[in-house]
């Protein structure tokens, strides 16, 4: 009969299947739509680059922005966020406007510092280690023809992925790009990534700029736009390459920060959603909370099953070896050789995940090349994504202990 773990597994399967099919439905809906937007709208754009000790990349970023194929670029503003290296001098030598301030921690401070100085109708925020493609801006601004659009996000890809952790992030970024495009159909883009996102300046000012109390200003601002009834769009054809954490440790720190910011944002808006009428944020918030909750529940089920299986395996293997009998448990063989409903559902979810990756790569114009990429993909689907709940739990602990730092 079904045990408690069996029932939890079935609920987990149901929810995972729902989101998988939801994304497939969104994909089919997206295919029906013609998104060839006429490039005939060129509002003034100010590019803001917050920079803290970015001497290695700042010039390349400024050059990439100068190379943008855009007729109405008002200004490039570098906000030197209290750098101790040559960031400021290099930026000044490149002939762009440089604002200087003391470092206060999170990125919202330099962005808010720049906001009063912005002249353009659109404020494009670019990370100091990111490199927009020449046509990215002109494609992205077209979405602002709709007056309700407060922000436009872009396709962020990884630059020069070499180490294994970089290659895994590279896969993740492709999947995120495509997921964000599909979430647009539900008006549920819940983050405006820092690598390159565009904001309608007057709306940004009207809602009070970025939240200095939030560790991930890009998540919080997206939720605030949605909460206030504005739209966020995703320009798939606007591409930007960005630097990513090169080591596992840096990656972990970044993900913990994202997770803390996500939780902070959720805690800020969920009570408001209960009090307010229907908001475009409702689905995004539900999606966010559900994915967080289920990843943690799934993680504990996973850990429980793995712990149980490993201890059973070790017990059997060691004793069987010492007793000189068959070292493969018949119990384990039974599970492998006779399919049941759980194995079948597991297989269905794996197939859906592979289909999802294939569609994401195809629609974003990326290719998997050779055995190496396939190996990375297997690693991504098996190991990488199972690390997230652990990060989430760690982030929650830090938050509860009030040990938050940018």
């Amino acid at each position: 009969m079904l045990g408690i773990i069996d029932i939890m597994f079935l609920v987990f399967v149901f929810v995972t299947m729902f989101f998988s099919f939801l994304f497939l439905v969104l994909y089919l809906e997206h295919r029906k739509r013609d998104e060839k937007i006429k490039e005939d709208f060129f509002p003034t754009v100010s590019v803001v680059i917050p920079a803290f000790n970015e001497e290695k990349t700042i010039l390349s970023t400024i050059n990439a922005i100068k190379n943008l194929n855009y007729p109405n670029l008002s200004e490039i503003i570098v906000v030197d966020d209290g750098s101790s290296d040559k960031t400021r001098e290099l930026a000044e030598s490149a002939g762009v406007k440089v604002l200087t301030k003391e470092n206060q921690g999170q990125k919202s401070f330099p962005l808010n510092f720049a906001l009063p100085h912005v002249k353009g109708k659109i404020m494009a925020c670019v990370d100091a280690d990111s490199y927009p493609e020449p046509n990215s801006l002109r494609k992205a601004v077209q979405f602002f023809k709709d007056e309700k659009v407060a922000s436009v996000t872009t396709s962020v890809y990884v630059r020069n992925a070499k180490t294994i952790i970089e290659r895994l992030q590279s896969i993740e970024y492709v999947l995120i790009v495509w997921a964000r495009k599909l979430l647009e159909l539900l008006d549920s883009i819940y983050v405006t990534p820092g690598a390159l996102s565009l904001y309608r300046t007057d709306i940004l000012r009207k809602i009070g700029g970025f939240d200095d109390n939030n560790i991930t200003e890009d998540i919080e601002i997206a939720w605030r736009f949605l909460y206030n009834g504005y739209k966020i769009k995703m320009s798939l054809d606007s591409e930007v390459c960005t630097g990513i954490p090169p080591s596992f440790k840096d990656w972990g720190q970044q993900r913990v920060r994202w997770a803390i910011g996500g939780i902070q944002t959720t805690l800020k808006y969920i009570p408001k959603l209960f009090k307010s009428k229907e908001s475009t944020l409702t689905f995004a918030a539900s999606f966010f909370v559900l994915s967080y909750s289920f990843s943690i529940v799934g993680f504990f089920i996973f850990i429980y099953i793995i712990y149980q299986k490993i201890s059973e395996f070790l017990y059997y293997f060691i004793n069987a070896y010492m007793m000189g009998t068959g070292v493969i448990s018949r119990n384990a063989l039974n599970v492998i050789t006779v399919p049941n409903i759980f194995a079948t559902f597991g297989l269905v979810i794996l197939i859906l995940a592979i289909v999802w990756v294939a569609i994401s790569y195809r629609r974003t114009g990326r290719n998997l090349r050779g055995i190496g990429d396939l190996f990375d993909l297997i690693l991504y689907l098996s190991l990488y994504i199972t690390l997230f709940p652990a990060i989430l739990i760690y982030a929650t602990t830090l938050l509860l202990m009030n040990k938050i730092k940018w």
């Binding site: 009969m1 939801l22 539900l186 069987a320 039974n334 006779v338 049941n340």
Partner: protein, 218 residues
């Protein structure tokens, strides 16, 4: 639009999930039917063997009849033992049917009868084979289940090494069968896994092949 898309995804999920659940129930049902049919067939085989044995005892009390009865008993024991492995596999896999439990009881009673028949034939025919009753728990999980699995492997090894000179009868202790309670009481069986060798020696805990071989001498 958004609600329409969500509803569409929900409907697809419910359909696919339900199909999966029905498929799972159907697979379990198929396995249950297979077990049921096989048990019926084994019951017929057992009755046939028992009648043969009775017939030999009534009309043909000679060496030939003894060897025939022993041979029939041995073949049936092997057949039931081999079916037991499949039954065990199915009961671990099946999730939606509780009826396997009933079939397991019938299977256990078959083993019990075969054990008694084996003892009776051994005495009557002066046979030199050994019998082991392997007591296990039907509801064991985790490490306890692995212990039992390990003991099963050791006993299967022993059967092969003793080259037909050893018959093993796996008997679950905790399936609420009164006749099993009789054996438990008679031989003082308290825990699982435990083995009873030749109706004399009781060994508690997992035993290795060498210990078993030393006692039964094969």
């Amino acid at each position: 639009m958004r609600n329409y898309l969500l509803l569409k995804a929900a409907v697809i999920t419910v359909i696919i999930f339900s199909v999966g659940m029905f498929l799972g129930m159907w697979m379990d049902g198929q396995r249950y039917e297979e077990i049921k049919n096989e048990i019926t067939s084994l019951n017929i085989d057992w009755n046939d063997a028992r009648l043969q044995s009775l017939y030999y005892q009534t009309f043909l009390e000679d060496d030939d009849s003894c060897s025939s009865a022993l041979e029939v008993n041995k073949k049936l024991t092997e057949k039931i033992f081999s079916f037991g492995e499949r039954l065990e596999k199915y009961e671990r896999i099946n999730r939606f049917s509780e009826e396997v439990l009933e079939q397991k009881k019938v299977y256990t009673l078959l083993h019990f009868q075969l054990w008694l028949n084996s003892i009776s034939l051994k005495k009557k025919c002066n046979a030199d084979y050994n019998t082991i009753i392997y007591f296990y728990s039907h509801y064991a999980t985790g490490i306890e289940e692995e212990q039992q699995d390990l003991q099963s492997s050791v006993l299967i090894d022993a059967i092969h090494r003793c080259d037909g000179n050893l018959i093993v009868f796996p008997i679950p202790l905790d399936m609420d069968i009164q006749s099993i309670d009789l054996i438990k009481a008679q031989f003082g069986i308290k825990s699982t896994p435990t083995i009873l060798i030749n109706e004399q020696t009781v060994l508690e805990g997992v035993q290795d092949t060498e210990t078993i071989k030393q006692i039964i001498g094969c």
